[in-house]
């Protein structure tokens, strides 16, 4: 050994023990990494198996209600397609689906906040698709097509919605989109579905920024922005509650929340109510007392809960009552059965909701049929079934009217529609003055009140398109 080496390396025994210690620590880390990798793989396998490996499954449902399900009825009649000359195939994503199948993509929250709505939208589409397929499917240019529903979980965020939308378009090769839930998702998805020339029926509350300027995006379910065009509900509230004068609002600080409160305040203002305050909160907030305290100091007659999810609503109404609030809550589409899992019956009592119910004199027969059919299949009652019921039927109508699945022809067919049937009654397409094209279904709006833990329909407001100025409320 040369002279300098011992100096550099130190004595042999010191090197040996240090080296062994280092080796020991490295081995430990390697072992642990292996353990973690195995655990994470196990989690992935379990999660994939639990989720069924493909489409998200419905969440566990509570026991069925006591309402005996009537015999399944046929869907509302739709117009038969007229014959049209054979169209040429255009090189777009709409013509790439396997022959005989029309794939419909659903982008909604299947996990996390909003999952109860998302899974109900998916289940309703599956149910309606089964019925349409059983009745012979969709006929285009003499050929039969069956609907196939493909879902994507956007976790109620725009970023996930974009990822999921691209996957549905380019990997799953969907022909259409329907039932899009989150407003932020709709705003993000719209340019993508338009760019790929895909007819897109949505169910979110995003307002002008989601529909204006789009070619193939529609709002085909009843949502609050439709009321923006119609102060009918709040005029009815004025008659029903003549001493009530003010409305305040609290909602999430995002597209859904802004759109919902904007339209509530615009409609209420047009009907003669005074807007008494607004609070926006970030999703993930658990304690609402700091927001409710200043909002309720003047005892607003109505407190609109915007588009808040059910868990938030449960806490808000509890804390509002604890703070002494005696007024009336106005919810979004709130199902008493779902809200009842997190909120007490006493706190829910009297809440007005845009969720159609099975009970009440104002209930149209089509709504009962839709919700009963959902109950028969899934063992639970949800207003989403009624709200989403017509979407796929209207898609069928659009495609058969156009006698094509090409987006431009289908859009032209929708534009030419007159009055048509929905589970809520006679409807039509509207919104041309507001959105620049007929992009919004105008159908009767059911309002229910939660009575003794159940939604009961108390009024059916008929829509009137009225040009409402969009005031700045916050």
């Amino acid at each position: 050994m040369r002279q300098g080496e011992n100096k550099i390396r130190g004595t042999g025994s010191e090197n040996y023990s240090q080296s062994n210690a280092r080796k020991g620590r490295r081995n430990k880390v390697r072992k642990l990494s292996l353990v973690m990798a195995c655990l994470l793989t196990l989690v992935l396998i379990v999660t994939t198996v639990a989720c069924g490996g493909s489409s998200p499954t419905a969440t566990a449902v509570p026991a069925a209600t006591n309402t005996p399900p009537p015999a399944a009825t046929s869907a509302p009649a739709t117009a038969t397609p007229t014959r049209a000359p054979t169209s040429t195939t255009s090189p777009t994503a709409t013509t790439i689906a396997p022959p005989g199948v029309l794939k419909v993509g659903i982008v909604a929250a299947m996990t996390g906040p909003g999952a109860s709505w998302g899974t109900a939208i998916f289940n309703t589409h599956k149910l309606v698709a089964e019925r349409i397929n059983a009745a012979g499917g969709v006929t285009v240019q003499g050929k039969k097509y069956m609907f196939e529903i493909v879902a994507g979980d956007d976790k109620y965020t725009a970023a996930e919605a974009v990822t999921v939308t691209r996957k549905l378009i380019f990997e799953d090769k969907v022909n259409f989109f329907s039932g899009t839930l989150a407003s932020a998702s709709l705003v993000a998805m719209g340019p993508i579905t338009d760019e790929n020339k895909i007819i897109h029926f949505s169910n979110s509350w995003a307002d002008k920024n989601a529909l204006e300027g789009r070619k193939y995006v529609y709002r085909m379910a009843l949502t609050i922005p439709s009321l923006h065009r119609d102060p009918g509900n709040w005029k009815v509230y004025k008659e029903k509650y003549p001493t009530f004068k003010t409305v305040a609002g609290i909602t999430t600080n995002d597209q859904s929340g802004w759109a919902s409160l904007q339209s509530v305040f615009d409609s209420a203002d047009a009907a003669g109510f005074t807007v008494a305050g607004v609070k926006l909160y970030e999703r993930g907030t658990t304690d609402f007392k700091p927001l409710l305290t200043p909002l309720l100091v003047n005892n607003p007659d109505f407190l609109s809960l915007g588009s808040s999810p059910e868990g938030d609503i449960a806490v808000m109404i509890k804390q509002a009552r604890e703070l002494g609030y005696k007024g009336k809550f106005v919810g979004p589409n709130v199902d008493a059965s779902t809200l009842g899992k997190v909120a007490s019956k006493e706190n829910m009592e009297g809440m007005l909701s845009y969720a159609p119910a099975l009970k009440g004199a104002a209930t149209p027969p089509g709504v009962i049929q839709a919700m009963d059919a959902y109950n028969q299949k899934y063992g639970t009652t949800t207003s989403v079934a009624a709200i989403m019921w017509d979407s796929l039927y209207l898609l069928k109508k659009a495609v058969e009217t156009a006698n094509s699945i090409e987006a431009d022809k289908v859009a032209a067919a929708i534009d030419a529609w007159g009055e048509f049937d929905t589970v809520f009654g006679k409807a039509r397409m509207g919104g041309k003055d507001y959105y620049g094209r007929k992009a919004q279904i105008i159908a009767p709006q059911l309002v229910s009140e939660i009575q003794n833990g159940e939604n009961v329909n108390v009024m059916l407001a008929n829509p009137v398109e009225v040009p409402l100025p969009a005031k700045k409320w916050w």
Partner: protein
């Protein structure tokens, strides 16, 4: 609000004695906000105690702490809400079971990785994800509620606090006092502190350092479970509820000083009051202002109010 007699029609205009009325409502708002802030602060105390203990004992950050909180809540949901077991018994069972989970996490992850901070933190993230996914598998992803244990509102001069909030706040204060006394006077608490201060010296004095690590971890897990079990009836549960309390807990221990229990107490109140008053009087900007204040405090005093410098291995 409460017995307030201002009618909704009076918004923007006031009856005679308007000035007195206005001052009364301003004062009422302030006092109600203070009551809200106190109750929020005490929930942060509850959440941050376990994290503080874990860091002070092991100098480790457990990112699965929020999931232990979530499991405590679901324990109450299953045993009390679904199975109808008495709340106290359900609470005890939940805390014991989650403590066992905490011990398992300590044994398979944190003990082998005692000397590798980064690996332990990453591993705790992984464990947290496993627990969260497991909870999704078992309980689904929907929000669920726990029926109230107590009900009613205490109204003192129109300042209203729900009875269940008072119970949680009292429990939080009790746990905090008990923990401080335990760490200061109990033999085991002193042993845990000695290990935290100087592991080798404590070992030379006959303290089983590994046993104290495990004990500290179990107590921290029990505190997380207790927090979740107490707060479940106040809010709602889903497999993702652990994230927010954990983040708030980290902010609290950063403010108060990593490893300082009194510091965590003070940090809880600072955060609770900033958030409550900010949201009440400023609105959404309060979130940004709140974070800015926290960042400023940390910049001015990086070790927190009462913290000590910690060397990460």
């Amino acid at each position: 609000m409460g017995g307030q007699s201002i009618s909704s029609a009076a918004v923007g205009s006031f009856p005679p004695n308007a000035a007195v009325h206005k001052v009364e409502s301003i004062m009422q708002l302030i006092f109600q906000t203070m009551a809200n802030a106190l109750s929020l602060s005490l929930t942060y105390v509850l959440v941050s105690m376990g994290l503080t203990l874990m860091f002070s004992v092991m100098q480790l950050i457990n990112f699965a702490h929020g999931e232990l909180f979530m499991l405590g809540g679901f324990g109450i949901y299953v045993f009390f809400h679904k199975w109808g077991i008495n709340y106290i018994a359900a609470f005890a069972i939940s805390v014991v079971l989650v403590s066992v989970v905490g011990f398992i996490i300590y044994r398979i992850i944190f003990r082998p990785l005692r000397h590798d901070f980064l690996a332990a933190v990453l591993a705790s993230l992984g464990i947290g994800m496993i627990i969260q996914n497991g909870a999704q598998f078992l309980f689904g992803q929907d929000d669920v509620g726990v029926r109230p244990v107590v009900s009613g509102v205490v109204d003192i001069a129109n300042i209203r606090v729900a009875v269940d909030t008072l119970v949680v706040a009292s429990a939080a204060a009790s746990f905090a006092i008990a923990l401080v006394l335990f760490m200061k006077y109990a033999k085991t608490g002193k042993a845990i502190r000695s290990v935290a201060e100087d592991r080798e010296a404590a070992s030379l004095q006959g303290v089983n350092a590994r046993a104290m690590d495990a004990t500290g971890f179990i107590i921290a897990s029990a505190l997380a479970a207790a927090a979740g079990a107490l707060m479940a009836p106040l809010f709602f549960l889903n497999p993702f509820v652990g994230l927010s309390p954990m983040l708030k807990g980290f902010i609290v221990i950063l403010l108060g000083g990593m490893g300082s229990i009194p510091g965590a107490l003070l940090g809880s109140f600072v955060l609770g009051f900033i958030e409550t008053f900010g949201l009440t009087y400023i609105g959404l900007w309060a979130n940004i202002i709140g974070f800015l204040i926290v960042m400023l405090l940390i910049l001015v005093r990086p070790s927190g109010f009462f913290g000590r410098q910690v060397t990460l291995h």
